[in-house]
Each structure stands twice: as structure tokens, then as C-alpha cells.
Symmetry: C2
Subunit: 412 residues, 2 copies
């Protein structure tokens, strides 16, 4: 009997989850198929570390070439995280004609064209469902849609950590710092939360989805991003009173030959499909020209959902389905932030009447129609529809006047 052999690079949270689904009788496919694939080698940094009882320690190795140069291994599962050395390993695996399944959004976002063309040249598949949205089958759904539709809009909540923090702030009226601490205690945020709360994680995911959606490589570094660290309890309260929920939204769209991308906090109208996705859940909304809007949501992080996506890709390869098709030749260009028009919400912490007047005058200069509210030391504005460039000008000028500012676009 011929059995497909898998080499695992990394045995962290996701790697252990993949091992469990395949070996510890958790995944249906591997319980029922007599010739189901087997994990034959696992790359770790320390073979002596205690990793529990439900693991075959004889599979562990610290030498990547035990996997990358083993001609009996068919599929390499790369779940180490970070940039190097995983990128180098993945390229070596592809060039040695091994299929690769990865959950690593960084190497996919930074090198999608190179990795997909390397896979194609070697007649193997590169799959990365787990790199975006945890267990949500978004890459596959998008690939299917694109066979018939042109996609012109990708909108989502793509980061479980920040969605958990904002849900906490909303439910318990807590400060950002307190909500972050809870997230860290519950394992939803890392000790250094920078990549999550400043949008680097989200923009990588948006880069992957947008590049596939629009057939054009959209680099992570070209995506406008603003973090959520300046959101105060007062913002949660004021937006709620006006019928909105604060969410960390990734959005890109096509307009003519330009694309627009942004990762930024936004006020979402309550009781809409973006507003009700809470805690570690993610949601992605795609707009196709024939099918209309399709929304997919589920757990965006966590061992089992992410491992489920990895193992789903392995099965996809086993069933010899068509690999991810990517054509990045669409001649579109970055339109910057100009087309992100909308009503805007501003909050300024003003310490005295001079600050109050200066801020008020600045907003007045750029925005004709707006509602202004002063409450407990904060000056709030809800503006008429303006361009994001105007909002950025206001931010730029008012930061010279007061330190504590938050602003966000309103998405109805």
C-alpha cells in the first residue's frame, strides 16, 4: 500500500493541532481512510522538550534537511511562523518537488508571486488557506468565486486579538489597556501585541486576499494602516449612543484602474453583519459582479480551526484538485486613500478652553456640516461625508494642538 508522507516544519500551536487531527483520531478523514497520509518527520528546535504524551518523539529532528532532502516525503507542512528560515525551507521544499501547505501569512504576503511561480515550475501545489481567517475557508471560496466573478470589494474583520479587545471594551466599558491585559491572560494576545494592535497582522492578510482578488500583487507595505491603541472608553460610549459599534476593519476595493486599501478602526452601524462579529471570530465579505455579496465567518484563530484549514489543504492536494491559480498581470495601481470617503467621527481630549477653540477652528476650516458634542473633557464631532485625505489633514493639524485624539470612518 502506497502512503503519502508528510514532513512537518514546526510543532507550535498549529503544528500540534495538525499532528492531533492526523494522528490522535480527531480528523474524520484519517480515521476512515486506510491509506491516509502519515507524518513521518517533524522539525523542532529542541527534541528533548516535554510536549505531552500523545506524540511519537522518534519523529522529531532538528535538521531541516531530514525533511527537505528526503525523497520519500511528498508534502511539507510549514507552520513555524516569522520570515526566515521558513521562507528558505519552503523554497527548498518546492524546488525539491514537494507540495507545501503553510499557515505563514508573512512569507505568503511578502513572496506570493515568487512562491506560486516556484510551485508551478516544479509542478507541485502551494496552499495557504490557514494564513488568513483561521478556520474560515476564504481562500478556497474566493478561488471558486473568481472562476465566474470579478471581485471588486474585500471587507473584513481579520484579527481575532483586536476584535476580542474591542469586544471586551464594548461589553465591560473597560480601557484599551485593561482589555489588552484580559486578552493576554486568556491567550488571545501575545506578550508583545504590536503586530496585532498596530495592524501589521491584518494588513498582511488583506494583502493576500486583495492580491488574489484583483490579480495584482498588493504589497503589505503599501496598505494604509492605523492601529487601535488610541481608542478610549469614551469612544466606545459615544459611538454606541449614536448607534455604532467600533470595529477594526480591513478593506480594499477596485475603482477603474486603481485599487484602494486600508486597515483602520471604523464605526459600523449596529445590527449589521460586520457589527455582530465578536471576540475571536473573523468575517470576510466579498462582492462579486454576478453572485453579489458573500459573507463567511468563523473562528479566526486558535489551534483547532487553524489546523483544520491546514489539514483541509493537505486533503485538497491528496485529491489532486487544481492548485491555486494566480495571475498578477492586471495593470492596476494604488489609488492611495482618496476614495475612502465617508462620514467621520473625531474625538479630541481638550484640557482647556484655548485647546477647545483651536481644535474647533481647525475642524471648522475643513468641514462645513458636523455635529459637535463636548462631554467630560472630550470634544466629539460627527462630520458630513468627507474624503479621507481631509480627515488626515485634520488629524495632522490637530496633533499639534492636543495629544489625545481618535478618529474613524463611519461605515453605514
Amino acid at each position: 500500500m502506497f502512503v503519502i508522507k508528510i514532513g512537518l516544519l514546526g510543532l507550535g500551536t498549529v503544528g500540534k493541532g495538525v499532528y492531533n487531527i492526523i494522528n490522535n483520531e480527531k480528523g474524520y478523514y484519517f480515521q476512515t481512510e486506510a491509506d491516509a497520509p502519515q507524518i513521518v518527520k517533524i522539525l523542532v528546535t529542541d527534541t528533548n522538550k516535554d510536549r505531552g504524551n500523545d506524540l511519537d518523539y522518534s519523529l522529531l529532528t532538528t535538521d531541516p534537511d531530514d525533511i527537505l532532502l528526503d525523497n520519500t516525503i511528498d508534502i511539507v507542512v510549514a507552520v513555524m511562523g516569522g520570515g526566515e528560515p521558513e521562507l528558505k525551507y519552503v523554497l527548498r521544499a518546492l524546488n525539491n518537488k514537494k507540495h507545501v501547505v503553510t499557515a505563514n501569512k508573512q512569507i505568503i504576503s511578502d513572496n506570493m508571486a515568487l512562491l506560486l511561480s516556484t510551485a508551478k515550475e516544479n509542478n507541485v501545489s502551494l496552499m495557504f488557506e490557514a494564513s488568513v481567517g483561521g478556520g474560515i475557508p476564504i481562500i478556497d471560496t474566493m478561488q471558486q468565486l473568481l472562476k465566474i466573478n470579478r471581485i471588486n470589494n474585500v471587507t473584513g474583520i481579520l484579527n481575532g486579538t483586536t476584535n476580542f479587545i474591542l469586544s471586551q471594551m464594548s461589553q465591560h466599558r473597560s480601557s484599551f489597556d485593561d482589555a489588552l491585559k484580559v486578552a493576554q491572560q486568556m491567550g488571545f494576545a501575545e506578550a508583545d501585541p504590536t503586530a496585532d494592535v498596530m495592524g501589521f497582522d491584518v494588513s498582511r492578510k488583506l494583502s493576500i486576499l486583495s492580491s488574489l482578488a484583483y490579480n495584482h500583487i498588493i504589497k503589505d507595505e503599501n496598505i494604509y494602516k492605523r492601529g487601535i491603541t488610541s481608542i478610549a472608553a469614551a469612544d466606545i460610549e459615544m459611538t454606541r449612543m449614536n448607534g455604532y459599534v467600533l470595529k477594526y476593519v480591513a478593506q480594499s476595493f477596485l475603482k477603474g484602474d486603481k485599487y484602494y486599501t486600508a486597515v483602520a478602526p471604523a464605526l459600523i452601524k449596529e445590527s449589521t453583519e460586520l457589527a455582530v462579529v465578536n471576540n475571536e471570530y473573523n468575517v470576510i465579505i466579498l462582492n462579486g459582479n454576478i453572485i453579489g455579496e458573500i459573507k463567511v465567518s468563523g473562528k479566526g484563530a486558535g489551534q483547532n480551526p487553524t489546523a483544520n484549514a491546514v489539514v483541509g489543504d493537505i486533503i485538497y492536494i491528496l485529491e489532486k484538485k487544481s492548485p491555486i491559480e494566480a495571475d498578477f498581470s492586471n495593470p492596476i495601481r494604488n489609488g492611495g486613500m482618496d476614495e475612502f470617503r465617508g462620514k467621520y467621527y473625531f474625538r479630541f481630549r481638550v484640557e482647556n478652553s484655548a485647546q477647545f477653540s483651536s481644535v474647533f477652528d481647525c475642524v471648522d476650516k475643513y468641514v462645513e456640516k458636523k455635529d459637535a458634542i463636548y462631554q467630560k473633557g472630550n470634544l466629539f464631532f460627527f462630520t458630513e461625508e468627507i474624503a479621507s485625505s481631509v480627515a488626515l489633514k485634520i488629524e495632522n493639524e490637530t496633533t499639534k494642538i492636543c495629544e489625545n485624539i481618535f478618529f474613524a470612518r463611519v461605515i453605514e
Copy 2:
């Protein structure tokens, strides 16, 4: 050049949509693939009827055998609707070794095991993504999930007509009859809306999804169903005041070796993912033992979304992907309604104090803890958690007392 040939059975709304995607340069695949498949014959009842300019009338025929017995046709697309003669045609097509793609929920729901085994015997595929949820890729998503997960719960809003009616009633505080009229004027409801408003359409879809999810044929006629015709404006108002939205919910779940199914109106907590799906949109929530909850939503009806699902299945066949796998040998049995426990909402139209007292006494007999409200001739109850069998007993006894009753389970 070898080109795949398609025969189309039916040229109604969905059939015309399929024709447009393939021929009128609407679908990307058919614009870009030189050897894309072609529709070579279309079965209609009247070849002389005016069907617009963008159609090749020479393809029309009134003889099904022009398609079913044509050995050059590879794929039959069955989009006539109803039971016979479409079932007979589909069986003949499969037995003549043609792949079949259909949007017909009735023949799939009534004959899934027979049709899938006939396809298997003839080494062809039977696909029916368009039979449930319009454009929503739910059958495919479920098939992927089932390779790794066991599914234990399927919950959804599966009918665009009734969701549109309930959304209208909610937005405009209109009566059921007025909302139905608007739905009919806008083309969202048929002249005879019975199949939609009494749950026959929904229960067929729930039968298809549940049979696949639980590996056991769950017959449409064994699904408990209750219509939405007795919902009054007073119900919309009272449930809204208590933080709920009225939705028409299809739900099935597994518990031990029993399955439970119901199609019934329900009170959904506002700002949850079922509550915010409005108008013609549908949503399906699947719960997998590894991946957790996955939700997919989109347009549940309409020409383009449904045709998109049909054409998606055609492409799936062209790419030689694995056909729908179905094993219906799971030895589970119908548990009836017993496990549908929950808080219940009741409304009774009472005309006089004698009716009031009789209804009150009846509810009192079965439910210890409840809130009672009397308002403008209606007596309302919100009960503690009770079994659905108790709710049905109350309904049964009170219908002897008053005519105008509505009740529904509360889903938090």
C-alpha cells in the same frame, strides 16, 4: 479542439441566467478559456415564445431526447423545477452517462440516495449546489468540512421570500398580508406563496443539508414545520420591545443516536448573526467538532446568484474534482421535537374576559414561571425554559379557546 457540450433542460429564470453567464460574456471563465464548454441544445415547452434578443433560438427544442439521447452531450443542466418530468429526465441523463447539474431541490430532497447512487454506478457526477441557498456555496463548504469534522448542528435562514416578508413587517410595521403583497409585487414571492410561507420549501432544503451533514437520509416529510402566516404586527412589536427579531428558522441537530429537525418561526436575540440577515439574504451556520462554528451568507435567490451556483458546479465537473460523497448508513433515528427546549413566546387574541381566564389558566397549568402582558386585546407570555412538547400541548388546548394564536421558541 475538444469542447465539452452542455444540454440545458429549462429556460426559466435560472436557465436564462446560466445561458447568460456562459454565452453573453458575463462569466469570467467563459471569457478567458478558449476551450470553454458550450450550450448546444435547450429544452423548452414553446420554441416560438419571445425570449429576448440575446439568445440563439436555433438551440431550442421541445424534445427531451434531443438532449438525453445525444451522445455528444457531456453535461445536462436540469433547471425546470417541480417533480416530474425532471426527475425522469435526470435519471435518464445519468443512466446515459452524462454528468448532471441541477437546481431542483424537490427532486434532490425526495431522491438523493437514488440519484447519487445512479450517478456513481454510471461513473458520472451529480451536483446540486444551487438547490440550497441560491449563490451561497454551502454544499461545497459542507463537503469540505465533513472530510475532517463531524457536523452536529445545522441552523439557517433558507428562504428569501419569507425572510423578505418578515423584514418588511419589521421595517414598516405592516401586517403579514400587506408584506406578502409587497413581496409579490417585487417578484420575491409567487402568486401562490404556500410552499414558502408554510415551510415546504425550507424543509426540503433542510432535508438536503441534514442528510449530507449526518450521513443519513432525513426525509422532508419527517421534518416538523410550522408556517409564518399567523404572525401579526403585534408579535413583531412585542418581540422587538423585548430585544428580539422574528425569523423563520430551519434547524437540525444530532444528540446521541437521534436527530431533531424543525422549520418554525423563532425569536432571535437582536444583534446576533441570525438576526441581522435581512430581505432576500440567506445564512447557514454549521457546527463542526474541530473547526467550530462556520457561517456563510449571501443572496438566497435570484437569477444571477442561483445561476452562479449552477455554473460553479459545471466548472467543478470540468476540473474533474471529486463528486459529492454521500454515505447514508449512519444508524440514527428521528427524535421528534422533544429536544427543542427553550423559552417560548405566546400571543393569544382574546375577545373577552372568559377567553382571557381560560387561556391564562391553560398556560398556568403547564408553565410555572412566565411573564404575562395584556395589551390591546392580546395576551402575551414569555415562559421559562420548557420542552417543545409542552408548547405544542398549550397550542393544542388553547386553539379550542381562541382562534388567533402565535407562538415561537426563543433562540438566545
